[in-house]
Amino acid sequence: MPAEARYLSARVLRNEDARLLTGRALFVDDVQIEGMLHVAFVRSEHAHGRLKGVDVSAAMRRLGVVAVYTAEDLGDYWRAGPLLVPPPPIPNLVFHACTQVPLAKDKVRHVGEAIAMIVAENRYVAEDAIRDVVVDIEPLDAVVDLEKGLAPGAPLIHEQLTSNAAAHVVQRKGDYASARKKADLVVKRRFFYDRGAAAAIENRAIAVNWDPKAEELTIWDTTQAPIPIRNGLAKMLGLLESQVNVIAPFVGGGFGPKIMMFYPEEVLLPWAAIRLSRPLKWTEDRQENFYATTQERGQVHDAEMAFTREGRILGVHDVFLFDTGAYDPYGLTIPINSQCTLLGPYDIPNYESEFTAVFTNKTIVTPVRGAGRQHGVFVSERLLDIAARELRIDRVEIRKRNLLGPDRFPHNHEIMFQDSAPLVYDSGNYLPTLEQAVDLIGYDKFIKDEQPRLRAEGKHVGIGVVCYVEGTGIGPYEGARVTVEPSGKVRVATGVGTQGQGHFTVFAQLVADALGVDVEDVRVVTGDTREFHWGTGTFASRGAVVAGSACHAAAMAVREKILRLGSSLLNVTPEQLELRGGQVRVIGANGAAIGLGELSGLANPLRGAVRPGTEPGLESTAYFGPDRGSTASGVHAMIIEVDPETAMVEIKRYLVAHDCGTIINPLIVEGQIHGGVAQGIGNAFYEQLVYDEQGQLLNASFMDYLIPTATDVPRVETAHRETPSPFNPIGLKGVGEAGCIPTGALFAQAVEDALSDLGVEITEIPLSPNRLFELIESAKAAGK
């Protein structure tokens, strides 16, 4: 970063907010094209069954219906979606790829699976026509529970397989069995973590326009990965990549399900738009979102941790089941994240982790913010809490004794991470963050004075402190193009999609610093393949790290061009120049200067020649691809009060001390954390997708699926530490998931502490007032 940088680490207000707040931001559902038709889907009401027939004749006769398609109508276009993330090269790994299909054929495997597609003059007619379609399904018993799904004789979801096991993976480090023999204490528990929805404010939507004269297909899609969507659809449709444009405009929240690629609707609309030569649009309604947009996080862990009497961890053994839903297009990203993140910030010399992924008759599971990291953190933090209690060591102290010291980096955990690279922490300094959190929440004083005083008043108050790491910023790469326009304004294009993260601001800050321009004069375009068509997408907390580093690199290359051209025009060496106020100028008072706009014109002359080895204009494209991700870390702490009569909780304080390397913009980092904590609180205490034994989702609306509201989410206090990553020039680490990863573990610890007189032990998330009430009652009964 140049010396004159003034935006890095500054609380710059968001460039995009004016557009968002005044309703001038384009969302997919805003796209209106003359002659546009509207799409609705007939979906399965059964979780598992044989599809005997689909009679669409009555729907076809309905006035206003233009076309109705079933699997049979798709011909060769009907094929299972791609395996998006092939499993990492782990020895003896077993993986069965069974990816989703565009429309069900022969069998349905979850409620909400698409069976037929209706295209009509408007959505009303399309929705009415759903009722005209007669679907004949012979119901089969459903697989809902993970253990029952693996039992002999369980109904088989994918009949080409011999069981419902989708994958089996064992990863080992050291020798747990030997370590266990030396242990003074082994703590063993069974942990449950159940499903939730991402519940983005904007549901999925797709609008498609086929221009038959230009032979060009334009797709507006709420995807987090516009470039892979373009490339994949071009291949499926037999078009050149250059004939397909994918635009992910403003997107109202991604959180992971929108990185799932080639959803049935995404594959079907472009195909039908070309076939009908009419623009099409489909916008998911909220109930469809509950059934057809991917979900996360059913896992059951049987885990144990071996300790010395001093509380030092000797090793961990974990066997878990992972619910992958009806299909497994996203491979093993989530369970491998769980497996890796369990090690957390701790020095764990021996580790054995085995998991089985299980197909169930439920909506497909792909990453949702946290993406399996929650589970690992929950298991290790809970085991530490239980061990602390049994060894009579303070909860914070037992963590301190096991943190990796600052001299232990880079730290190789000797197992494979989700990006197919070994799990190596690049850098970290964990103890100061923990001490900072403990200090800011007033842990010692709370334990010593406040808690006894409040308990004497009959109040059930508790405190929790948990640690976590967040693997972020993985490859393969992103790119960016930076252009100084003749107006002096700067244009930045990058391939990642944006869903509210503040990309228009942080990328602009990095570029503005490199070029010495005002941040408001940098216009960023993301997620539009017409503008930039190399890259992967927005996931794994990698936007700022990977695309940000590419923006920086491209801007630094433009800076070089400016300095080179400036030095020849101003007759000084480049070292005598600075970039400031939108000008290149000779350092010193009253130095000669040229505005960057003027310079860009001089770099693109109407006469004269561009010499060999040079390029016109002030523009550069650069790419950044880290060998592996950078590991962020942090500590969450909270004080909670529980009413044991109603089992309602009140969060008195919530604090996040975290370290995401160099901070580009504290305002945006804090926003990410606040949002993450809100989502984490939802996951910990409010949100749960409840399926019955037949695989029917019982709470498919916001009336019954409770997301936390403003009154449930406290003000979140934040503290920042910066341990720069050596893996990128600015030292960045991601922060997108930090807010929600340890929230379940924190809730469990704090609630347990508040109810310590009753001896409640929490081994499951989500909780709810109902569930907590049951736990309180059973603890009372056991205590009698």
Partner: protein
């Protein structure tokens, strides 16, 4: 959804039995029934309107088959319903015992699977709606029974 219960009719068992085999009576008694016709021996087809929470006046086409009949003591029903907002599928058993009075004690139990939209948005209310509709139906049947017995 499992609904079980007991209801006492003020009349002899044979009269209750006859009542329960008469589609015209059932059509009047069962809340929301628009039509109910006998399609074959022991087979009925009907259209019912049900409101559960946010799902209002949803129409279901229902097929009911009577099975395991032991007149006038007991029978079971195979129920298959389908509508725009979901489906129902299950069985119900009815047991009638005469006691002095004479009164007839009905023990009923049903196990019905509910799927689709109505399961997703109405779950919280399904059981209470089911209980309420059962109660309304049985009370209407008892009233019908009283009027029949009064006419005799």
């Amino acid at each position: 959804m499992i609904l079980t219960g007991t209801y006492i009719f003020n009349g002899p068992r044979a009269a209750v039995w006859d009542l329960l085999q008469d589609p015209a009576v059932l059509a009047k008694a069962l809340p929301g029934t628009k039509t109910l016709t006998r399609t074959a021996d022991d087979q009925y087809h009907g259209v019912m309107k049900v409101s559960v929470g946010p799902v209002t006046a949803a129409e279901f086409a229902v097929n009911v088959e009577l099975k395991d009949k032991v007149p006038p003591e007991k029978f079971s029903m195979q129920i298959d319903g389908k509508g725009a907002v979901g489906f129902t599928k299950g069985t119900a058993t009815i047991d009638l015992q005469e006691q002095p009075g004479p009164v007839t004690v009905m023990n009923y139990s049903s196990d019905v699977q509910i799927g689709g939209k109505i399961a997703g948005v109405g779950q919280r209310l399904l059981e209470s709606v089911g209980k309420m509709m059962t109660k309304q139906a049985l009370e209407a049947l008892n009233r019908e029974l009283q009027s029949r017995l009064g006419k005799q």
